[in-house]
């Protein structure tokens, strides 16, 4: 170690601890928060998130990928399942994934279910058309058959689902 005329430690004033902390701390805290989030999620608990518990909740949240995954894993799109109040509304507690897709106003989901043969039953199809008409989801009404909607009793299908 030799000392020179340009020795930084002799000529350079000490950096202010306050300035150093003020510059580094916010960005470092953000990085740490991201890593804490990663650790929590990796251990199975996602912070500040809503995860669907079944295919109806996935459809109710409008998550096409998760809905398709659950259908492929064997979950039944026509089975009535419990959904939490924050998924659709506090008054809707038990729905099928198909109904949840209508509540979520997701015509793409309805099309996907149709391609998978989940809406082959004409009665089920009419039931969904009536629900879509009650909720005024026009693209789903048009996709499933606007003619059927004319035969629906306004509000009846939605009320029946709410009363479950």
């Amino acid at each position: 170690m030799t000392s020179t005329a340009f020795s930084i430690h002799e000529t350079r004033p000490r950096a202010s601890t306050l300035l150093i902390a003020a510059t580094a701390a916010p960005a470092m805290i953000a990085t740490m928060l991201v890593l804490v989030f990663v650790v929590f999620e990796s251990s199975g608990r996602t912070l500040s998130a809503i995860a669907p518990a079944n295919v109806a909740e996935a459809a109710g949240l409008g998550l096409g990928g998760e809905t398709l995954r659950r259908v492929r894993m064997g979950e039944d799109a026509t089975a009535r399942l419990s959904v939490r109040p924050e998924i659709i509304s506090s008054s809707v507690k038990s729905v099928t994934a198909l109904e949840a897709a209508v509540f979520a106003r997701q015509v793409e989901l309805i099309r996907m279910f149709d391609r998978h043969g989940s809406i082959a039953d004409p009665h089920l199809r009419r039931h969904l058309v009536c629900l879509a008409a009650d909720l005024d989801v026009r693209d789903i009404v048009e996709y499933l058959g606007a003619a059927d909607a004319a035969t629906c009793r306004p509000g009846e299908t939605r009320a029946a689902i709410v009363q479950r």
Binding site: T11, A22, T23, G65
Partner: protein, 507 residues
């Protein structure tokens, strides 16, 4: 105390000479370049350790994102149908774009993947981010507590810049923009190092690779020339001449021999004024005289890096001011972050003006001046249309320049208590604003992953709207595999909720 031991520090001969006579002109950091001691080695290691943590967070969300459908799966369909040489050769004869090595890179990773596409392509994206962060830290050479204190801010700027988002939210399968970030940062690392023969060869190879990957790869030449003009001698004069000949040769090849041309106004939408304009509108406005539009794009692109406004050519924040409409939270964050960071940079430029006038450049000066050169050249390359990610190379050098300017600000000036407190508050505000922007990029990548999964879930419907279908059995098999990767094998993470997202979404 200065140690005679050196690691990767450049020799003194590589810097402009300084003497006791001009000592007052020399920043304290000049002495700092003379050597490293044990303490500085510890700070350097701490910097790399922190960089690794920063990469881990981003890697986590990058590995959650599947290969996308448009420009991802659709680009991969042809990769298995031609050999590497055939494919690269045929890419020389495309219209408007000359990007043969982009196809080559995708082909190489595709063949290496041997069916494990998600792992290889997504893994390669993570490796690219890691390499970029390593290059970023290498260029900064943090050796004191002030340098290391500026690094978290620098990495937050690097990862939080709006120009950077496009390099991580798009899984093409290989993100070309990210490749060019590595090439330009790599060029700076070569140019600012100590002169050796291999650097000359590496410079030429790197330029050829970057220029034939995507048009913005030409910025590699700008980095080498700017570094050389500021006294960096990592590459020799002969190499600079060779690079310049190759640079000119690129244009001869593109426009004279191959007649590839360049994209015209009809190619895509672009921002102008307070909103985005579609190609027909642009032709109606500028068809006869596009130079005004080109000039607008160049200036907009440069301002976008410095002030985050305009974005993609659209003056959204300004419009809100004019119309007395409230800013969104992300807009406020962006404005605070960019104004303070550019202010710190301007202060550095002002403080060093006397040294620059007598051509006395240190490493920090070179980094700032390379940024200036890349900013102007990157803006010029964006003449055709404006898009945030097109300015991503300038964004990386902006992060470098602001980091060295911050290190200079916090590391050397003696002040009174009052000034120090005010400065500390400003630095904390800047660091916090950039931290929010960096976290926002993580959220954007996560949400992009969810959006890509939706694309795969509704693939049949998308193919119908595009009037496409995978008739070829190999393409169909690839489609099924990528869809299974996105939906079943690597399912998405839960959607984030909460008011806190309003600070982050739409950055």
């Amino acid at each position: 105390m200065v140690n005679s031991q050196r690691s990767d520090a450049e020799p003194i001969s590589n810097s402009q000479p300084f003497s006791p006579a001009n000592r007052e002109l020399v920043p304290a950091s000049a002495a700092w370049e003379l050597g490293v001691d044990a303490a500085s080695t510890r700070w350097t290691l701490a910097a790399y350790a922190y960089g690794l943590f920063a990469v881990l967070g981003l890697a986590y969300v990058l590995l959650d994102m599947p290969i996308q459908v448009a420009d991802g799966y659709t680009n991969m369909i042809g990769l298995g149908q031609r050999s590497l040489l055939d494919g690269v050769y045929s890419e020389f004869f495309q219209r408007s774009y000359l990007r043969p090595l982009l196809w080559g890179q995708q082909h190489v990773v595709y063949m290496l993947a041997n069916g494990r596409y998600f792992e290889w392509f997504r893994g390669w994206h993570v490796v690219q981010v890691l390499l970029l962060v390593v290059l970023f830290i290498r260029l900064l050479r943090p050796r004191t507590i002030a340098d290391v204190a500026a690094l978290p801010l620098g990495l937050a700027i690097l990862l939080g810049m709006h120009t950077f988002i496009g390099t991580v939210v798009e899984a093409y399968p290989i993100n070309t923009y990210m490749t060019i970030l590595l090439c330009t940062a790599g060029a700076a690392d070569i140019a600012l190092g100590s002169p050796t023969r291999w650097r000359d060869l590496a410079a030429v190879v790197l330029f050829a690779f970057a220029a034939l990957t995507v048009e913005s790869g030409l910025l590699v030449w700008v980095v080498f020339v700017a570094a050389w003009l500021t006294g960096a001698r990592g590459v020799s004069r002969g190499a600079i001449v060779t690079l310049t000949v190759l640079f000119a040769g690129y244009f001869v090849l593109r426009f004279g021999i191959l007649d590839v041309g360049s994209p015209g106004l009809i190619e895509r939408s672009s921002g102008y004024g307070f909103r985005s304009r579609d190609p027909q509108e642009l032709i109606a406005m500028f068809g006869a005289n596009p130079w005004r539009f080109y000039g607008y794009n160049v200036v907009s692109s440069i301002l976008s890096v410095l002030w985050s406004e305009p974005r993609a050519g659209v003056w959204d924040l300004t419009e809100r001011v004019v119309d007395h409409v409230r800013f969104s939270r992300p807009m406020m964050v962006n404005m605070v972050a960019s104004t303070l960071a550019t202010g710190v940079l301007m202060r550095f430029v002002w403080r060093r003006r006397r040294q620059w006038r007598v051509r006395l450049f240190e490493r920090a000066d070179r980094i700032v001046l390379i940024f200036a050169a890349v900013l102007v050249a990157n803006g010029a390359l964006s003449y055709g249309y404006t898009k945030d990610v097109m300015m991503s190379p300038a964004g990386v050098f902006y992060a470098l320049a602001v980091t060295v300017a911050t290190g200079d600000l916090i590391g050397r000036t003696p002040r009174g208590a009052g000034v120090t407190v005010v400065l500390a508050m400003l630095m904390a505000a800047m660091s916090a604003a950039w931290a929010v922007r960096a976290v926002a990029v993580h959220v954007a990548v996560r949400q992009s992953g969810m959006a890509v999964r939706e694309q795969w879930a509704y693939l049949d419907q998308w193919l119908e709207t595009q009037h496409k279908s995978a008739a070829d059995p190999a393409a169909l098999a690839l489609q099924r595999q990528l869809q299974d990767d996105a939906i079943v094998r690597h399912p998405g993470k839960p959607a984030l909720t909460g008011d806190w997202l309003t600070w982050l979404e739409g950055q």
